[in-house]
Amino acid sequence: MAEQYLNTESDILIIGAGGAGMRAALAASDAGLKVTVVSKSLLGKAHTVMAEGGIAASLGNVDPKDNWQAHFGDIIEEGVYISNWRMAEILAKEAPQRVYELERYGALFDRTPDGRILQRAFGGHSYRRLCHVGDRTGLEIIRTLEDQVIHRQNVKIIDELYITSLLKKDGKVIGAIGLKMDKGEFHCFKAKAVVLATGGCGRVYKITSNSWESTGDGLGLAYRVGAKLQDMEMIQFHPTGMVYPPGVKGLLVTEGVRGEGGILYNSKMERFMERYSPQKKELDARDVVARANYAEIQEGRGTEHGGVYLDISYKGADFVKQKLPSMYMQFMEFAGVDITKEKMEVAPTTHYQMGGVRVDPDTGMTDVKGLFAAGEIACGLHGANRLGGNSLADILVFGKRTGEGATDYAKTAELVEVREEDIQNEISRVLSFLKPDGINAYDLIDELTSTMSDNVGIVREPDRLNIALAKILELKEKYPKVSAPGGRKYNHGLLAAMELSNMLVATEAIVRSAIMRPESRGAHTRKDFPKKDRAWLKNILCSDVGGEMKLDTEPVPTIPAELMELVKQEVY
């Protein structure tokens, strides 16, 4: 018997209601298009709410010398020269407009004494550049965009809806199928253009700062319809995650702590960053600080719970509570530690995917017609290392641009009929997981995430990478046996089964790319190749060729001469 489902037709379907998805929705709505936004979490709960430290834009309010040129230079240098220069240029130039626009939408940033938007220092930025709302910048962005989106007549929002696959016909993406979790109903979406704004894949690691929803669904969805995944070996480990108690292991300690003067010590009370980075110290780029923390812990100078110390207490209680209120609460309530009096214990945690779906820098179009991507799921801007604050800038700048890119495309495209058979096949595929006695997806997810944290961390070696790859392939073999008891309504077991397939695509791409890159660059450190290699000024691409993952490399696009003048020459 044919399964029932609901139909929704729109000009643009946006998958994801984080900052990127909502900003893209506003762009398409501004152009008068009919937009549908879906998200697997509730509206307003997307991963973006967790962002703390701020959004990078060269307003020059605190350091008047700052400008887009300096921001551009920082992105290229700290991304260790494999960023897409055009994306870096667009971001550096347009971030200030997006920040002021957010203010006009209603966001309330912290102020300078003369009433302008205040900016704080962050690792790797040459100037104080991060506009912020205390340490709740992401929440302010989400609430502000949410408020705009819900008041638009031409934007329909369907939350707690999990997209299970994209629909493709004649080489073009024409829609998607999803399961509305709270109702247990299937939906078929027809759209002239589809935007992926599904965020990152931080949850493929056991120790992570990421939300439940960050399982890399967009990677799997895009890969399966033929899009290419780029720079997947570049996973950012944030230098400072909580380590104790075990329940909060991985939870982020914002870089804002170091931005406001926090100092790192090892168990011998040495300020070790003076050794690793005499100039920038705690405020060097994330990969540098994360490796330093990792090395101190590995070499036996770690704390009781396997971390290093981070101290802000010397700044005084008033300062700490005003500048870092949620950090104060987080440590007080989760760890029983008063950071105005005691030091924090921290260690690296998985934080961000620099890689993702390859897109056209100007329009956000992927390698597949009709499919666009923006935000953490899209790749190119951050190269081998993302600077703090650049992601929030990314989701607004490229959220808008991709919304516009998809709008232009949709204006000349048509809605395409979806074959009933394709819809029924996809629904049957999803329902086939609903069996009582197969393998519990959570068990496999546990194995996968532990393998990733144990073997594909900050410092990588071939043996370990091969162990991880073997494990991933073994889990892929087992995958068809995964099942979930219960029904289709709010069934997390079923959801986990579907997420696992995307996590397997993400991890296979990470590990294969990490094996392929025989050098150390940015976030990717190889024990057997400790140096950077000029021959690897390349991007690695993964694509699905007849069911197998194939890897290619492409040279990094050459930076035009006039922009190259803004960047320090790379030294080897």
């Binding site: 209603g106 003369d114 009433g115 329940g247 997806a441 997390h492």
Partner: protein, 250 residues
């Protein structure tokens, strides 16, 4: 021996079951664990059909609201060692049940749609200037993570059928009314459409707010006063309002 805790979790799928019941689970205790860890252990290892809602596990998204031993709280922010080793977890009572611990909070967005969005004054030169002191007043309300625990605990919402929007929504209105450059006044609509008069200032909402927002003292009472001022003395109100807004501008 491994230390264990007991969880009694509410189970019901109202589309097929008339009545719900508490189901008992044993979960190994881990130092520093929060209730969400224990509930997730059940979901991942013992019964994958258990419906729960969570996302950030960091008390930042407001998804994991439930009643823990009868108290409305965030599961991810409630340490097991503060609530004992025999814990009862039930869904928020003020909202329609979807399944197990998950409730339908969708009506809140319907209410939010009725509250006029931020409407900036038109005479501002850009970039705008504002003083930190003035920004500070609205900031408290912007900490709201939309957990709806305040809605859950409010007896007006729980026990009576009134047009009252509820504390979360007064906080939302206040966050914009107290924006130094906003030109709307939402107190009137809160009063006339949003049933603000039904709130009798019991302050239960502010007691449960995980963000420690002074919902009653700083949002509800302020909005009530504004509404009254507006009603009885619109002119005086206008002057007063203009003054506060002027002071706000650098």
């Amino acid at each position: 021996m491994e230390e264990k805790i007991i969880l009694n979790i509410y189970r019901q799928d109202p589309s097929i079951e008339q009545k719900g019941q508490l189901q008992k689970f044993e979960v190994p205790y881990v130092d520093g664990m929060v209730v969400l860890d224990a509930v997730r252990y059940v979901q991942e290892k013992l019964d994958t059909t258990l419906a729960i809602r969570w996302n950030c596990k960091a008390a930042k998204c407001g998804s994991c609201s439930a009643e823990i031993n009868g108290m409305p709280r965030l599961m991810c922010k409630t340490r097991v060692d503060t609530v004992g080793h025999n814990i009862t977890v039930t869904p928020m009572g003020a909202f329609p049940l979807i399944k197990d611990l998950v409730t339908d909070v969708g009506e809140n967005w319907e209410i939010l749609r009725k509250i006029p969005k931020f409407t900036p004054r038109e005479d501002m030169e850009s970039p705008w200037k504002m003083q930190q002191m003035d920004v500070e007043r609205s900031k408290e309300f912007r900490k709201c993570i939309e957990c709806f625990l305040c809605q859950d605990v409010c007896h007006v919402i729980r026990e009576h059928s009134t047009p009252y929007f509820g504390p979360r929504h007064v906080v939302k209105a206040a966050s914009m009314d107290m924006h130094p450059l906003d030109s709307e006044d939402r107190s009137r609509m809160l009063d006339q459409v949003g049933g603000l008069g039904f709130c009798n200032i019991t302050k239960c909402c502010q007691d449960v707010c995980p963000e420690h927002i002074h919902i009653t003292d700083n949002a509800i009472i302020q909005e009530k006063e504004r509404a009254v001022d507006n009603f009885y003395d619109p002119l005086a109100r206008l002057i007063k309002r203009k003054k506060t807004k002027e002071r706000s501008v650098a």
